[in-house]
Every structure is written in C-alpha cells, then in structure tokens.
C-alpha cells in the first residue's frame, strides 16, 4: 500500500491545477461525515479480510485463477453488499 500511495499523492497534487480529462470536477473531500458507520464497517471489513486474506480488489483480480474458493468469496461478498443497506438503516437511521 505504501507504494500505491506515492503515485496517488502526486495525482492529488495535480488535481489542484487541472480538470479531469473527460470533463466534470474532481471529487470533493467528505471529511465531515465521520459517522459510527465508518468505524463499524471498517471493523467488519477488517475481520473478513483477516479471515480470508482477500479484499474486494484482489478478489476480483484473482477470479480468473482463484478456483472455487475465489468464486464463493465473491458470491458471499456480493450478498453482503446487497444486505448492507438494510443493516445501515438499523445502525444509523439519520444518514441512511
């Protein structure tokens, strides 16, 4: 992750003086929304990541050769993503 942050940090610097090539605007920071959802979701994600060794990007990247386990992980992850909004409503009704 250390290696990935370097080019990204340079890119963020470039966004100060440029516009996206396809037009529009760069995404604005959303630091105001530090809800409990952020922490709870991160803990869930970290636990799943620790249990399996996969986070969403590499899960997709290894689909082509990850075998049945990779497909099962993806199916479970998609199911979790579908279920998430329902959980969100219960956890944090104000921001849902």
């Amino acid at each position: 992750m250390g290696g990935a942050i370097v080019p990204m940090a340079i890119a963020w610097q470039l966004t100060r003086t440029r516009a996206p090539i396809v037009g529009g605007a760069f995404p604005a920071p959303t630091d105001a929304e530090n809800t409990p959802k952020l922490a709870i979701g991160s803990v869930f994600f970290g636990m799943g990541w620790g249990l399996t060794g996969l986070c969403p990007g590499p899960a997709m990247a290894s689909l082509g050769f990850g075998g049945t386990g990779g497909l099962i992980f993806l199916a479970a992850m998609l199911a979790g993503m579908i279920a998430a909004p329902k959980l969100t409503n219960r956890l944090d009704p104000a921001t849902a």
Binding site: T52, C55, G57, P58, M81
Partner: protein, 159 residues
C-alpha cells in the same frame, strides 16, 4: 523470500498509477468496493460502462498474465465456511464504511482524508487482531496456495 517486498512495492506502484489515471482522466476515485457496490445497489447506473470496463480489465488482465506466465498465486483459506463468513463481512463492511483498501487506503490516505485514515486504522487493526486470534492462537485458518508461480505484488494478502 527476500525479494517479495520488491514485487509488493512494484505492484503497489502500479495500483497507485492506476488510481492516478482513474482520478486524472475520469475524475473519479478508484475504489474496488465502490465500483462493485454501485453495480449491486443500482446507485452506479449512470456510469455502468465505466464500472464494467474497470472490472472486466481487473479480471481479464491477471487471467491473461497467469496464462502467459503459466500460473499465478493467490492466498485463500481452504475452509469454505470461513470464506463465506469472510466474504459476507467484507461485503457488508465495505458498503457501511464506503470503501476498502483501494478507496480508503490508497486514494484516501494519499489526500490525507481523515475518513480514509480512520477507516484504514480500523480495518487494518481488526484484520491484525483477527489473524492473530484465528491463525496464531486458535489455528483455524490454514492458508492454501493456489497455482504457485508468478509473483504478482497485488495478489499478496495485505494488499
């Protein structure tokens, strides 16, 4: 292996470069869970093509590389029950927290986003405690290696 960290660094630089292109060209944050999540819940309907192209390349390129180089490696526990529970947790968690390693970790930290940094501390902490507990103390997780060969940095656990 002593050269593992070099591959990790190179893979990381490539991921960062991908995020930089996605930001500078499309004006968007490259977050894997957000790109998938927008397709799942329908909030990404206005840019479905962008999302599908990203995911297609993310799946096809490693597959081609693995094919050309005669293999690739990925780590996944062989316990299917844990894979399902882990997948559910990752799915629910990334949607609640609005990001994963790429969105919060790579794109968030690099712009010094408080949300990105807080989220990363929480998920890395939770991940470390989970591995410590389940692998080293309870011994439940045995990491199985599929098709060993190609050292591709971004396939390592922890990225």
């Amino acid at each position: 292996m002593p050269i593992d960290w070099i591959y990790g660094l190179l893979g990381g630089l490539l991921i960062g470069a991908a995020g930089a292109v996605f930001l500078l060209a499309n004006g968007r944050i490259m977050g894997a869970s957000g790109i998938i999540g927008g397709l799942v819940d329908g909030t990404g309907r206005h840019n479905t093509t962008e999302r599908l192209s990203f995911l297609a390349a993310l799946i096809v390129v490693p597959f081609v590389l693995a094919f050309v180089f005669g293999g690739a490696q990925t780590y996944l526990t062989g316990n299917i029950g844990l894979v399902i529970i882990g997948g559910l947790l990752v799915g629910v968690g990334t949607q609640l927290t609005n990001g994963c390693t790429s969105g919060h970790g790579v794109c968030g930290i690099s712009r010094l986003s408080v949300r990105g940094i807080v989220a990363t501390l929480f998920y890395i902490g939770a991940g470390a405690v989970t591995v410590l507990l389940f692998k080293h103390m309870l011994g439940v997780i045995a990491l199985e290696t599929y098709l060993q060969h190609l050292p591709v940095g971004f396939l390592e656990p922890g990225f």
